[in-house]
C-alpha cells in the first residue's frame, strides 16, 4: 500500500520513477493542482482539511479495489492537506501496469472514487473571503460509471 497524506509537496518525476519496475510498461499519472485567478474558479488559496485515520483507510480501500479490478504492478496515492496556493500540487495518483489501458483505467477509477469517498474538504480563499467548496454532481456521475 502506497498511500500518503501529507502537508509537503511531492515530486512527480520521483514518483514516476518509483513506479517503474521490470514488468511495467505503462505508468498513468494524474496530478491535481490549485487553479488560479484566471480560471472561472478565481481562487488565490485553499485549505484542505481531512479526517486522519479514516482518510488513509478509505484511500487504501480504493487502492485495493483498483488492484482487484486491473493487473497493476504498483499504485501511488498522495494527497496534500493544509494551506495551498494557486498553482500548487494537491493530489497525485499513479498506476503502473504491463499494459496502458489498465494503467489509465485504474488511475481514473482511483481519482473518481477519491473525489467522492476520501474524507477531504476544501475551503477556498477568494481575496479576503473563505468558503467551503460544495460537492459536485459531476463527481457522483463519474463514480457511478464504474458500478453500472
Amino acid at each position: 500500500m502506497a498511500v500518503r497524506v501529507q502537508t509537503e509537496d511531492f515530486d512527480v518525476g520521483a514518483e514516476s520513477r518509483a513506479l517503474q519496475a521490470d514488468a511495467v510498461g505503462a505508468i498513468a499519472l494524474f496530478v491535481g493542482t490549485v487553479r488560479g485567478l484566471s480560471s472561472d474558479n478565481g481562487v488565490t488559496a485553499m485549505t484542505l482539511e481531512h479526517y486522519p485515520g479514516m482518510t488513509e483507510s478509505e484511500l487504501e480501500r480504493i487502492e485495493a479495489e483498483a488492484r482487484a479490478r486491473w493487473p497493476l504492478e504498483d499504485v501511488t496515492i498522495i494527497h496534500r492537506v493544509g494551506r495551498l496556493e494557486a498553482g500548487d500540487q494537491i493530489v497525485l495518483v499513479g498506476a503502473a501496469s504491463a499494459h496502458r489501458q489498465a494503467a489509465f483505467d485504474a488511475a481514473q477509477f482511483i481519482m473518481d472514487f477519491l473525489k467522492t469517498d476520501a474524507p477531504f474538504w476544501k475551503a477556498e480563499e477568494r481575496g479576503d473571503e473563505t468558503s467551503w467548496v460544495d460537492a459536485r454532481e459531476s463527481d457522483d456521475v463519474a463514480r457511478k460509471r464504474w458500478t453500472s
Binding site: G32, L48, E49, H50, Y51, G53, M54, S57, H79, I90, V91, M111, L114, K115, T116, D117, A118, P119, F120, W121, K122, A123, W132, V133, D134, A135, R136
Partner: protein
C-alpha cells in the same frame, strides 16, 4: 479498530468542515443516552446540545456519517466506545 468500552458508556462525536464551524467543536464526548441503538437515534440528542449543533445537523440529507471511520448511515448501529463522525460531502482531489 478495537476500542475498549469505558465503564460509563460514552461516544466520541466528530464534526468536520462547515459542520465543525457550526458546532464549534471538532470532537466531543457524549454519554450514550438510553434507547440509542443507531446513528438516527443519536441525532436528536446532538441537535438539542446547542443552536449550532441544530444548524449543523438540520438537513441530514446533506450530511455524511461514519462510525468507527467507515461510512454508515442513520441506520448504522452505535454502542459505547464508538467514534461517530458527521461531515459534508467530500471535496478533495
Amino acid at each position: 479498530m478495537t476500542i475498549t468500552t469505558p465503564a460509563t458508556s460514552s461516544l466520541s462525536v466528530r464534526y468536520f468542515a462547515w459542520m465543525r464551524e457550526h458546532t464549534g467543536t471538532a470532537m466531543e464526548t457524549v454519554t450514550l443516552p438510553d434507547n440509542v441503538a443507531c446513528v438516527g437515534d443519536l441525532v436528536p440528542h446532538l441537535t438539542a446540545m446547542s443552536e449550532g449543533h441544530a444548524l449543523a445537523l438540520k438537513n441530514m440529507q446533506a450530511v455524511r456519517v461514519a462510525v468507527n471511520r467507515s461510512y454508515g448511515d442513520l441506520d448504522t448501529p452505535v454502542a459505547g466506545g464508538d467514534e461517530v463522525a458527521f461531515f459534508p460531502p467530500v471535496t478533495g482531489g
